[in-house]
Symmetry: C2
């Protein structure tokens, strides 16, 4: 919630950056002003982890399959129509990213969505690209 205030924003009233000043001087980026616009590293890393995990067709298919309830790894093999080692590799990444969680029951490992926030992510992402 601690929003750093950009000092350059004072230079002009038109945009958040130094638009007016640039228009007058006719040059761009002669001063080091957007240095303050960098995000918190920990936050970026967390976001990156989630987005990388979901930026794959097969892993996305897994998450969709799990919307209706948990499935074991071998059922997900059927869903993805891919060899066992391939599926296991994707499931590992989803687990590492905290998107899915597991439950062991005898020989089987059941996978489920770990956090409903993941499902909201899917819906938002779908809405973004729906007109393009």
């Amino acid at each position: 919630m601690s929003q750093e205030q950009n000092a350059a924003a004072q230079a002009g009233s038109e945009s958040a950056s130094g638009t007016l000043r640039r228009m007058e001087e006719g040059v761009c980026c002669d001063g080091p002003f957007p240095e303050t616009r960098r995000a918190d590293d920990a936050v970026v890393e967390a976001e990156l982890s989630a987005f990388k995990a979901l930026a794959n067709e097969k892993r996305l298919a897994v998450v969709h399959a799990l919307r209706e309830g948990e499935l074991c790894a071998c059922e997900l093999e059927t869903v993805l129509d891919a060899p066992q080692s391939t599926v296991a590799s994707h499931l590992r990444k989803l687990r590492d990213a905290g998107i899915v969680a597991t439950r062991k029951e005898g020989k089987w490992t059941y996978y489920r969505i770990a956090d409903t926030a993941s499902l909201q992510l899917l819906d938002l992402a779908a809405a973004l690209g729906e007109d393009r």
Copy 2:
């Protein structure tokens, strides 16, 4: 909103899949039951487009920088601390994915967040990984 009902869900009352039946028979995946659990291709493609666009450290940094208002391409060079062609390449991908939009003004091209849904995406993704 049209949710396909999985026929296998009837087999047991414990989980959404055929858990009970498997427990009794001691085998897994002998029938083709999770075939019905595949997602709509168009939806998956839209989600994939958004997630791929955001699954990169530099592009994520761009989006964060644009939270406080629009910036021109050369300012984003300063933010990313990368050569012009590299930055341009990332901006293209963000634009293709519909995450950012542009406004031309003389020599400059200003970039802004195209849809507030993108910002919600960041917040959700950050929340997902914050404990892990």
